[in-house]
């Protein structure tokens, strides 16, 4: 079956512009995560969605970052007024929380470059 997909795969934007990144999770997966991976660093948790519960936004680095998810489907991560330090690979993962005990399936990522 189809895995987690993300679009675009690459995004180059000018400092100060807004960007929107998209994640399509595996069908039926109730949990969805966003991570940021800066060059040479580990994955940094950003936000977590679980079904219809309130999302865990504790990892969002500033109020320029926001994310939405409609039900158990597509999620979008929006970065407003981008800064050069936002340059990173943004990874999305989904999980069938109910049964596979936290196993996450990752998408290929979106490489964001802010010039």
């Amino acid at each position: 079956g189809a895995g987690v997909s993300q679009s675009p795969s690459n995004k180059v934007t000018e400092k100060g512009k807004d960007v929107e990144l998209r994640c399509d999770p595996i069908s039926g997966h109730t949990a969805l995560y966003w991570y940021r991976q800066r060059l040479g660093q580990g994955l940094e948790f950003l936000i977590y969605f679980q079904g219809n519960s309130a999302p865990d936004k504790s990892g969002l680095p500033s109020d320029r970052f926001s994310a939405e998810r409609t039900g158990e489907s597509v999620s979008t991560l929006t970065i407003q007024r981008t800064q050069q330090e936002d340059s990173a690979v943004y990874l999305c993962a989904s999980s069938l929380e109910a049964s596979r005990a936290y196993e996450q399936y990752f998408g290929p990522g979106t490489r964001l470059t802010v010039t």
């Binding site: 990874l91 993962a93 196993e103 399936y105």
Partner: protein, 113 residues
């Protein structure tokens, strides 16, 4: 908050030699432990996980890891590596009462022919 330390950023090893990739975490309480692998130009995929029970966990592609609670470690091992094992390896922990995964900075394994 948890922290995860992968002591070796790069590990070169000859083909068919054994390898150990080290992972230590900060918590003294129970956690779930994971190793993920990222092959070149691919997404992360789960290699193995420890939730409870036997401290020796076997994963895909001949990898295994051993949970050591007293040393708060979860080192990854393979007795004989192949060229195809060249990849980035990430250790991760998750407290049972949390939604968050905490990842290490990764270890780049390069298998030399």
């Amino acid at each position: 908050a948890q922290s995860v330390t992968q002591l070796d950023s790069q590990v070169p090893v000859f083909e068919e030699a054994p390898v150990e990739l080290r992972c230590n975490y900060s918590s003294s309480v129970s956690v779930y432990l994971f190793w993920y692998v990222q092959y070149p130009n691919q997404g992360l995929q789960l290699l193995l996980k420890y939730l409870s029970g036997s401290t020796l966990v076997k994963g895909i592609n001949g990898f295994e890891a051993e949970f050591n609670k007293s040393q708060t470690s979860f080192h990854l091992r393979k007795p004989s590596v192949h060229i195809s094992d060249t990849a980035e390896y990430f250790c991760a922990v998750r407290p049972p009462d949390s939604n968050q995964f905490y990842f290490g900075t990764g270890t780049s394994l390069t298998v030399i022919p």
